[in-house]
């Protein structure tokens, strides 16, 4: 710690204003217009940018989930299934894959996704038979539930 006598303290000058200004401007370099050069405008813009990025973290989760749902819907429609039918029948068949993984499978492993769609379709048919057939037919194979205790 630098200890100065009282008289000198009054006369000391601010010498690192440049670096204090650069600390703020470095976050504004990719902005448009005078906000990327002028400190007074940049301070306001940088603060708003930080606030927006903090708040957007909650929105990002919603946005990505909607994106996954869109992609799964498109992929399942290619195989003749609608999204609600696909997701509900997968859940009833105890396939606990989340939407992120399903979207990645739909993009990178199309054959796996096709087999998942076929599984959901089969489970759907068995559900219809169980609901409408009433009694005499045996229970569906893919409708069996495994209990993990």
């Amino acid at each position: 710690m630098v200890v100065l006598s009282a008289a000198r303290w009054v006369r000391s000058r601010l010498t690192d204003r440049f670096w204090r200004v650069q600390e703020v401007l470095k976050y504004a370099r990719h902005f448009r217009g005078r906000k990327n050069r002028c400190y007074k405008l940049a301070v306001r813009s940088v603060r708003r940018a930080f606030v927006k990025s903090t708040k957007a973290r909650r929105e990002k989760k919603r946005f990505l989930r909607a994106l996954w749902i869109t992609r799964i819907e498109a992929a399942s429609l290619e195989h003749g299934l609608k999204y609600p039918a696909f997701i509900s029948n997968l859940a009833k068949s105890q396939v606990e894959l989340n939407r992120k993984v399903l979207a990645d499978l739909a993009i990178y492993e199309p054959k796996t996704f096709k087999s998942l769609a076929a599984l959901a379709q089969r489970r759907r048919q068995e559900g219809f038979l169980a609901a409408l057939g009433d009694g005499k037919e045996p229970e569906g194979i893919f409708s069996r539930i495994v209990h993990h205790h």
């Binding site: 195989h79 739909a106 990178y108 054959k111």
Partner: protein, 132 residues
Amino acid sequence: RYVRQLQRLQLLFSPTAADARGARQFVEEAAQDFARQHPDVVLYVSPHSGPGPAPVLRAEYLNGTVRDELIASKTSEEILQLATKLASQSGLDIIRIRKPFHTDNPSVQGQWHPLTNKPSSLTVQGPRLQPQ
């Protein structure tokens, strides 16, 4: 087997400057113990006489990155903490990692393209039949 990513630590300071007091104390007391505890790091102590740049602890890593840490007006314990922290780091730059995963082969079955689930009659041309 663990390979330490820190190659060498250079302690650049001036023997007379006031803010290099912590650096001088570190060299006198803790530098030898630090060097013994980390045998795969080379510690260079280079005092430059006269008024020069601020005292700095320069760390060089195996992938080539050089990291300078100011040690002006720091105590010997703080410099020791800094040195151990640098010794445990790798030389990768300290920025936000966008994704914690990476693959060179993301697709095993072949990435989806608009013609994956269409009948192959759209793309394949069968043998052209001779006119009979």
